[in-house]
């Protein structure tokens, strides 16, 4: 993507009908560390790579519990993600106050998307620089959604965002047909395998990743380090030397449920 005279503010269209500021915001998502989500009929698993800046600091929080039945994994500007999580939590609390029942996930993501859209149509605002993988359970089953800075949202069987997410997506595309009927354990296993793909040679240990699960009879919670390490050992997921084909930032357009096309193509990303 190159600088041009139509990218100064979000309220300026380009002659090709694109809003460059929004596309730049989506770039920010691609630069963030990977986040992955998968779902079955009864469970949703969110996984993300958690790299600390230095040995002295704590890990960046990338998975947030929003309510007992919903959680979110983010990639991009984590501060924006934190703020949006607080918004989502409040929406869930208010809905429960009024209706004494859980806010359906589908409604939550629409509200989130509408909030993101506002920032693409105000000259004094900027788009949120964070992509959210919203995983939750409601009366209509288990759901996984991706909310992007453009204000669009999509439902997925499985998805990955952030840097080197293409490697994870390739893995998920191979296996997603089996996810719906998958057991909870196999779903977590696939999440860990997909996560390993994004590490590209680095060893997968519980200190570099975070896993969260929500399901029927199981409130959203983040698995603790020991449990994750035990699962890694059990499934014998160690770092592989084989490098995945893609690099960070230049994502090849792939089939089926992928969505973020590189900007040098004619179709603007928000159209999908």
């Amino acid at each position: 993507m190159f600088r041009n005279q139509y990218d100064t503010d979000v309220t300026t269209w380009s002659p090709a009908g694109r809003l460059f500021q929004v596309e730049y915001a989506m770039e920010a998502v691609k630069q963030g560390s990977a986040a992955i989500g998968l779902r079955s009929k009864s469970h949703v698993v969110l996984a993300c790579v958690n790299k600390a800046n230095s040995e002295l600091s704590s890990h960046q929080k990338k998975i947030f519990k929003v309510d007992d039945h919903v959680g979110v994994a983010i990639a991009g500007l984590t501060a924006d993600g934190r703020v949006l999580s607080r918004y989502m939590r409040n929406e869930c609390i208010n809905y429960f106050y009024t209706y004494e029942s859980q806010l359906p996930v589908g409604r939550l993501v629409v509200q989130l998307a509408d909030k993101a859209q506002v920032c693409t149509q105000r000259s004094w605002k900027r788009p949120y620089g964070v992509g959210l993988l919203v995983g939750g359970l409601d009366e209509s089953g288990a759901h996984l959604y991706y909310n992007c800075p453009s204000g669009n949202y999509f439902e997925y069987q499985a998805f990955a965002i952030g840097s080197r997410s293409q490697a994870a997506k390739t893995y998920l595309e191979r296996k997603f047909v089996s996810f719906m009927a998958s057991s909870r354990e196999n779903l977590i296993k696939d999440a860990l395998f997909a996560l390993r793909e994004t590490l590209q040679g680095e060893k997968l240990t519980s200190s570099v990743c975070t896993i969260a699960v929500v399901g029927v009879g199981e409130a959203f919670h983040i698995l603790d380090q020991e449990t994750v390490q035990a699962l890694i050992n059990e499934f014998e997921i160690v770092g592989e030397e084989a490098a995945a084909p893609d690099q960070a930032g230049v994502d090849e357009p792939s089939a089926a449920d992928d969505q973020a096309a590189p900007v040098d193509q004619s179709a603007a990303p928000m159209d999908m």
Binding site: K61, K65, R89, N90, I93, N94, F96, Y97
Partner: protein, 228 residues
Amino acid sequence: MTKQQANWSPYDNNGGTCVAIAGADYCVIAADTRMSSGYNILTRDYSKIIQLADKSVMASSGFQADVRALQKVLASRHLVITWDLISYYYNKQMSCPAMAQLLSNTLYYKRFFPYYAFNVLGGLDNEGKGCVFTYDAVGSYERVGYSSQGSGSTLITPFLDNQLKSPSPLLLPAKDAVTPLSEAEAIDLVKTCFASATERDIYTGDKLEIVVLNASGIRQEYMELRKD
């Protein structure tokens, strides 16, 4: 020119009585399940007790519509605050003394159109000791060893004073602290309180709901009371 009188009241009193007793490592919270209006019984099976957090249970008598509204507001406010807590400390729930302050603030918020609710909050403090907090309608509260609120409180409180009040009039504030009674003895005492109050207070009766909070968790018990 006589002063204009209101031709309706936003409040009603649904009667009922609540009691709570704090022990060394437990807390007993009890309330009858009768809901009345004037000389009529609306229902014999209405719970006045709600669990607000891991270790906080509230019983409220008075106007049950206000009680229910208060319970909902507290539940929401508790969640909002807990999110801040668990953002930083994973899995930390609000403590009972903190909930006590929250309840006080929530009540005072409506100082000029109060919740017609007379509350007792019971639970375990940060050290695992039983604690009871007693309130008036606008949020004035105090930590005590035991308390009673509602229509039967005037009958029950003197009896509890006799049984539980420590003989230390020289100590200020009165060091009632927690009762040395065992959990089973405290439950028995509560049952006695209500059995007696039911005899003389027309608004108390039907069934007694007892909630016990201790280190192993929370449990519920019921006892039948006179239905007249």
